[in-house]
């Protein structure tokens, strides 16, 4: 790689002070994410995968080490609106229509009305929700709500998309469908994506790079570069290559658990 990494963490640590003593949510994390990467973070609960994503988004402050996003600190990146963030729950405002929800970040950023209209139309098409602009979130299914929340994160054309278990609350059939759509979206927009999940097939199917993490203290145990091609039909999950990577992820997760016990 010749270019600078989009996200770069060096010896990153984060310790929460709780009533039961300090909790090492992250310890000595080193990671580079290149432009256009699709990076999955996988691991059992408490391994710090969500915390790591939140540190990148400047929703948590690291207690030691360094991290840069687009070459600057996460705070500066946040203020420059460098990334879109998708939470586990859609969190759409019930008092706004789907269109109104997508418009929300644009209003805050002071984008003109005409540009707002154009952006809403564009991202609704990207997530295949055209025609639902005037519906209210509670009139939509859970999967559609989550697609709308992805559209909201895409609306302001940030180059980075951070997703924290976005499909964790959905059933598997909807989830497969959305996974396909996310890949299609990634291919069309060429964004850098950070994706937290606890599903091995999801991580392997989506990613170019899989970061395996383990708890107490939260740390990276393995980073796997996926040899799978960029074009991935759902059937790819039955190929030997896919199964081999899945095995390696599972081994990494198990190793993390063994030295925990």
């Amino acid at each position: 790689m010749t270019s600078e990494p989009v996200i770069s963490a060096k010896n990153l640590s984060l310790t929460f002070q709780t009533n039961d003593g300090p909790v090492h949510a992250l310890k000595d994390v080193n990671l580079d994410i290149e432009k256009g990467d699709f990076v999955s973070f996988i691991g059992p609960s408490g391994c710090g995968k969500t915390t790591l994503l939140r540190v990148m988004a400047d929703l948590e402050k690291p207690t030691a080490g360094e991290i840069t996003v687009n070459g600057v600190s996460p705070e500066e990146a946040r203020k420059a609106r460098a990334y879109g963030y998708v939470f586990q729950h859609a969190g759409l405002y019930p008092w706004r229509t789907i269109g109104g929800n997508i418009r929300l970040p644009l209003e805050i950023m002071g984008v003109s009305k005409a540009e707002q209209d154009a952006a809403v139309k564009e991202v609704l098409e990207l997530v295949h929700l055209d025609g639902f602009e005037r519906k209210f979130p509670w009139q939509l299914s859970g999967g559609m709500q989550q697609r709308a929340s992805i559209a909201r994160a895409l609306a302001f054309h940030a180059d980075i998309l951070l997703m924290d278990e976005p499909f964790g609350a959905l059933d598997e059939i909807v989830r497969d469908h959305l996974n396909e759509q996310v890949l299609e979206l990634w291919a069309r927009t060429n964004k850098t994506i950070g994706f937290v999940t606890h599903s091995i097939p999801e991580a392997v199917y989506l990613s170019t790079k899989i970061v395996v993490m383990s708890p107490r203290p939260g740390r990276i145990t393995d980073v796997i570069d996926s040899p799978l091609p960029k074009e991935r039909p759902l059937e790819i999950r039955d190929t030997p290559e896919f199964i081999e990577i899945a095995h390696r992820v599972r081994d990494g997760l198990r190793a993390g658990h063994e030295d925990d016990a």
């Binding site: 988004a57 400047d58 929703l59 946040r78 203020k79 609106r81 990334y83 879109g84 963030y85 939470f87 586990q88 729950h89 969190g91 405002y93 019930p94 008092w95 929300l104 970040p105 209003e107 805050i108 950023m109 209210f136 509670w138």
Partner: protein, 279 residues
């Protein structure tokens, strides 16, 4: 005796028809019909029992007599309505709720003030504030200004507590989302926290409607010009003109329900998105 039997019969018919209606699947029509039948049955039983048991109208006038009195006294009732409801209750309601809302938004910026005012506000909201009425009547005179002042004091704390709680009602995720947009304090307040607070704010506004009417009427017991619903009630009780008292009560009930209903309708329009309103 016939009246008593008629009353019992009406009771039986009313209850029986409601039992039948309530067994059927609930629709809008039965939802309205059942309480309506219940109410009408009560009034008819009242009429029959007062006539049948020959209760003195000084104690409990029959509904027909109250209706007749209402018909001939509309002038007085209107005058009292304007004095008590429009001048006293409504102006106090607007002032009190408005002030509480503004102060809630102001102290929202200062967690220190919030932590101090919320428990104190909760405490004061449970106190018999109505007792302030004689003091306020002394300060602001006998006319409607003192009634409005009583209403202001009564509605202020419930409204303040509800608004402050409402402004805290957003969850972490929603506030994190605003943070990822690098939204300013004002933007977060305007676009997220105020809309999210609306169900709480309307809860306060609804509680305040009843309090406003009570405050305006009771404050008149401590002194008023020779008009107003509270004045009319206390003097008519003294003259044993209970039919006029009941006519005033009907006005109060209708106004109270309409006031409450109006705020509830507004709430439905503003917080249509809230699960409790989607039905």
């Amino acid at each position: 005796m016939i009246w008593v039997i008629a009353g019992l019969a009406i009771w039986a018919i009313g209850w029986w028809s409601n039992v039948l209606l309530s067994r059927r699947p609930k629709t809008r029509a039965t939802g309205l019909a059942v309480p309506a039948i219940f109410g009408i049955t009560l009034i008819l039983i009242w009429e029959c029992m007062v006539r049948g048991l020959e209760i003195s109208p000084v104690l409990l006038p029959p509904p027909s007599m109250i209706a007749a009195r209402f018909g001939v006294s509309t002038g007085i009732l209107w005058e009292d309505f304007v004095q008590t409801v429009i001048k006293g209750a409504l102006s106090g309601y607007i002032l009190g709720c408005g002030a509480a809302f503004l102060i809630a938004v102001l102290i929202d910026r200062f967690p220190f003030l919030q932590r101090g005012l919320l428990p104190v506000g909760n405490f004061v909201a449970a106190l018999p504030i109505i007792g302030m009425a004689p003091i306020l009547v002394m300060w602001f005179g006998f006319d409607w200004q003192s009634k409005a002042a009583v209403v202001v004091v009564m509605v202020f704390f419930p409204m303040l507590v509800n608004t402050v709680q409402g402004l805290q009602a957003t969850d972490h995720m929603q506030r994190d989302l605003m943070r990822t947009y690098a939204a300013s304090y004002g933007q977060t307040l305007l676009k997220l926290r105020l809309p999210a607070a609306m169900p709480f704010i309307f809860n306060g506004l609804k509680i305040a409607t009843t309090l406003a009417l009570i405050g305006a009427i009771v404050a008149e017991f401590f002194g008023s010009p020779i008009k107003g619903m509270g004045f009319r009630i206390s003097t008519s009780v003294g003259q044993l003109a209970l039919d006029l008292v009941w006519a005033e009560i009907v006005v109060a009930a209708v106004v109270g329900s309409a006031f409450y209903g109006g705020v509830a309708l507004l709430e439905k329009a503003v917080t249509f998105w809230h699960p409790s309103q989607r039905g």
